[in-house]
Symmetry: C2
Subunit: 148 residues, 2 copies
DNA sequence: CTTTGTGCAAATTCTTTGCACCAAA
DNA sequence: TTTGGTGCAAAGAATTTGCACAAAG
């Protein structure tokens, strides 16, 4: 049986991410690929700072400006959606399918909610606006905060 | 026919606002009454700065800190809802009934949307979270921006 | 070479905090 | 008096901007 060397596995994932960026017409630089790979592997709706903090140990020259630039580009190209659910910081979601979010008012974490009726994501009739997007955000207390 | 003097009208409105605050157990100071009166008369989901800029000409000693304090209190008492729809600034809505909002990506203005199916404001089943609130936010281009 | 991307430092904006003074009960 | 409200100035945090250097084609 042939065992795939670990570095090849890593290369394969990076290659996948590289190709994923190309699907959105994003030129895959080292930094952009690292940011997208982090988003794909960590579905935690991270803030800019969380992304920067996670990547900078392995990428000491990375700057926060680049993380800002990268996410602006990803949003512009439709590869990620920016969430308004957190009033303090912008949060980013690599899952661009129609789904809702829940924010815990105690710990501040943002979770996906996939069991919201898909019908809710339809746009209402309007002669005043050209509606292009919808965001459905719930808030309250998550179970792990409720226990404490 | 008896014409109500204009200053009486103003007094009457301030008195109404005063009593409105009392309904939410908010002690009606001069500043709080002015802020609430502005919110009731201007359903534009204003930012802190918009409220401050509107009131300060007639209330030169008003400070932005007081506007912040006042709106924190209003939200805490349930008299207004804070909107997360605008990533740049907090916006406040004195209409606490269940309705949706639309933000124009061009001019940044936020509008009410009253024709969204009330069913959409129901909370989904969840054993992970105690859901307490929902915000439905649409975005796109408003008609006056589309024309220009 | 020319264009595009990155990263540092500074600037800007929004919000919060500490504290002193003022006002109402 | 005592409590709570207001307002100034400073601090803090998130984001944006200007510009020089690096990388890619």
């Amino acid at each position: 049986m042939y065992l795939q060397p670990i570095h090849t596995k890593i290369m394969n994932q990076t290659l996948q991410t590289h190709n994923y960026l190309l699907k959105f017409s994003i030129k895959p630089s080292v930094q952009r690929t690292a940011v997208m790979e982090f988003l794909l592997n960590n579905r935690i709706h991270p803030t800019i700072d969380e992304i920067y903090m996670a990547l900078s140990p392995n990428m000491p020259t990375l700057s926060k400006t680049t993380v800002y630039n990268t996410l602006d580009l990803f949003v512009e190209k439709g590869a990620v959606q920016a969430l308004a659910i957190d009033e303090k910081n912008a949060r980013y979601d690599v899952d661009i399918s129609k789904h809702a979010h829940f924010r815990c008012n105690s710990c501040g974490k943002v979770f996906d909610l996939f069991n919201v009726n898909p019908e809710y994501f339809q746009f209402p009739e309007s002669d005043k606006f050209k509606i292009q997007a919808v965001e459905i955000s719930y808030s309250g207390i998550c179970n792990s905060c409720k226990e404490n």
